[in-house]
Symmetry: C2
Subunit: 418 residues, 2 copies
């Protein structure tokens, strides 16, 4: 089944808006074992629109269109569909009644421009829009099915789910495809690939790597017409990948990101540990990441963002002598910050960062990207030295991830080796 | 001049990647008084690619293509260009030499697949790529000029600047268009539009509003074939808009965002004030935003992320009685936090937030979205109560912006009215 997509709107071509519908449809179709074969982006110009609809209809079995269904003179998609099919625009009574009821409920007057949204090519199906005025529209022309959706993301997404997905379930030949994703941190794309080398010898199994800085997502895709054999292969391959990736994996759940994984690890620790953070180069980012997840107040006590030396001394009890002898960016100060914030806050775990995020502040023996992180518990203080090659923002991001990863791994192994 | 763009790559159609090149080219062309007329997204399939190139070449004067110039068997763009033009692929000697030198410098072996990137259709110009291997390619076919660029964003952007922009400067008919952008905070899109109502009576002047949550960008566009008259109109309109928008504007410079504007305002204050922050619901976000800007250490002393009551008492000297009587989310606690962090840190300004970001934690008299912010100086303590309707992330973002906006406006008016 050849499927094409047309995104309508001059705002997509003049740079005011980035088209995300293509990627969304692509992912949805892929999850059903289908695929998007081609896309077009067309301005709000009648002739361009008719030509694009005609070209896609000639090539494809299914044409999906978004945009140009609104109330302004720029909205020409239905006129273009009428011109291509030769079917005149007629008022769809149920749609008009729905729009009237919607405006009455909102207490707003119904203008001619709004009522115009009930016009669809004769013979087309006007489909219910629960979140807006313009209907989705489905029609057949020369053996091809066309779906039209409003371009507003909220409406587009709702109507694709309400009308396109059930239609595909009923009409599209299914090619069973299953996948399993591991979210990892700690290796580059090629580093992760090296760990899984040779795993994709079976031609039914494909491994895809996708970078979401600083995380790498590893996805196993299995295609097998035999449903059960495919499921078995995916289960086995996932088991093998889990062993090979080991502690690099923080999540196998699309809904769970790194922050949620850190929170879950701490929450799952039998001793219900509390955590306090001392941040220098990360400047509040660790606190922000921890508190991005609702419920952090159950285990997160406080963060001290100590940019100045005097704050490190006063809030974290770092010895002035340590700062003077080793400098603020040093293993000694990182350890002292982690231990200090742990004791001052009365927390079970203290986490600390100190480093040079750039672009300025580097020197010959402490270049930009030098970052010390430390984690203090009752038993011991752990330290890591990072040499980061990125820009300020990415250096800070990796520093925060590295510190939180220390915490996550500690929380998952409550009995620490000493 | 009709201009079309073709983005090549199956990853754009299966949802692994969102195409941002279309929007980038659209903005660039608009800034030159030109425009992108149509776009296509094509899979790594030879026949689809040839057909897309042919269709665009027939319609347009200039066709821009990205992607499919790499080293893998999926990279078919040059083969497709060869098939469309009927010009066989030939090795471009200078390009091969450049790639060889590049790999020698990197100390990596040069494979056949990499050397293949020096093949271009006979008669085409292979253009230098300073940041990668594949050259950009320019060719003429049936009166149309085609440019081919690598799809990797860093290379695409560099080569568009190096090769397309100079070509357009030399070959494209210029339609003078000027614009001026105000970055604002504090009103919705329609609120900002209401302030400027009636300003666009002159048909040469258009006002565009674009939301970058929580900021609204207001751009004045002027089109006038008379260059001087256009400049004059834009200057006058910008002056008028500046008056009407007043303190809502934090930047008129594309390079300066809100964070930089806050830092610049504090740095410009004659007394070189220092700042300390006490964060509850923002959880470190204010510290992060301040330290996103290099050089913050000159005025930013520290942030205390005090999620727990005990941290508010110990680090900010909030009285336990105040917490008990009014609750942590209250005007009294916000004021006490701002005053406390100011005194404890020895700063000139103390900034504080306390609130309920959601999704949980709300109650009948303190619903989700209730946020108190406060700013303490030597003279006085200012307080604002926000009722925010967004999700957790956006509620936290607005809380941080509102606090930093208090600081920015104070810094710009050093003599505070009392």
């Amino acid at each position: 089944m050849r499927i094409e997509f047309i995104a309508v709107g001059s705002e997509l071509l003049n740079g005011d808006l980035v088209d995300t519908h293509t990627a969304r449809l692509g992912r949805m179709l892929r999850s059903l074992g289908l695929g998007l074969n081609q896309g077009q982006t067309v301005a709000d110009e009648h002739d361009d629109l008719v030509a694009a609809l005609r070209a896609a209809t000639q090539r494809a079995d299914l044409v999906l269109v978004s945009g140009g269904l609104g109330t302004t003179v720029d909205d020409l998609t239905m006129e273009a569909a009428s011109a291509m099919t030769g079917q005149e625009l007629v008022e769809d009574r149920p749609t008009l009644a729905r729009i009237q009821a919607r405006y009455a409920a909102l207490g707003r007057p119904l203008s001619d421009a709004i009522a115009r949204q009930a016009l669809v090519p004769s013979g087309a199906a006007a489909l219910n829009n629960p979140v807006g005025s313009a209907p989705a529209v489905r029609l057949r022309h020369e053996g091809t099915t066309l779906f039209f959706f409003p371009g507003v993301p909220r409406e587009f997404e709702a109507l694709v789910e309400d009308h396109l997905r059930p239609w595909l379930d009923a009409n599209a030949p299914v090619r069973p495809r299953r996948s399993h994703t591991f979210k990892t941190y700690g290796k580059t794309e090629s580093g992760a690939a090296a760990l899984l080398e040779g795993m994709d010898a079976d031609p039914r199994l494909k491994i895809a790597y996708r970078a979401h800085f600083p995380s790498i997502q590893v996805t196993l895709h299995v295609e097998d017409d035999d449903l059960e054999a495919g499921d078995r292969l995916l289960t086995e391959a996932a088991h093998q990948a889990r062993q090979l990736l080991g502690p690099l994996v923080h999540s196998e759940d699309p809904q769970v990101g790194f922050r949620e994984a850190v929170a879950a690890a701490v929450a799952a620790h039998p001793a219900s540990p509390t955590v306090a953070v001392a941040e220098s180069c990360t400047g509040g980012l660790i606190g922000k990441m921890i508190t991005d997840v609702p419920g952090a107040s159950r285990w997160f006590l406080e963060a001290a963002v100590t940019y100045s030396n005097s704050a490190k001394i006063r809030l974290l009890s770092v010895a002035p002598d340590t700062l003077e002898r080793h400098g603020a960016v040093s293993e000694e100060v990182a350890r002292s910050m982690a231990e200090g914030v742990r004791l001052c806050a009365g927390a079970d775990v203290g986490l600390a960062t100190t480093g040079i995020a750039g672009p300025g502040g580097g020197s010959a023996d402490k270049p930009v990207g030098t970052v010390h992180i430390a984690m203090a518990t009752a038993d011991q203080t752990t330290h890591r030295l990072l040499h980061l090659p990125f820009d300020r923002e990415r250096n800070r991001t990796v520093s925060a991830w590295a510190a939180l990863e220390l915490l996550r791994r500690w929380a998952l192994r409550p009995v620490s080796p000493s």
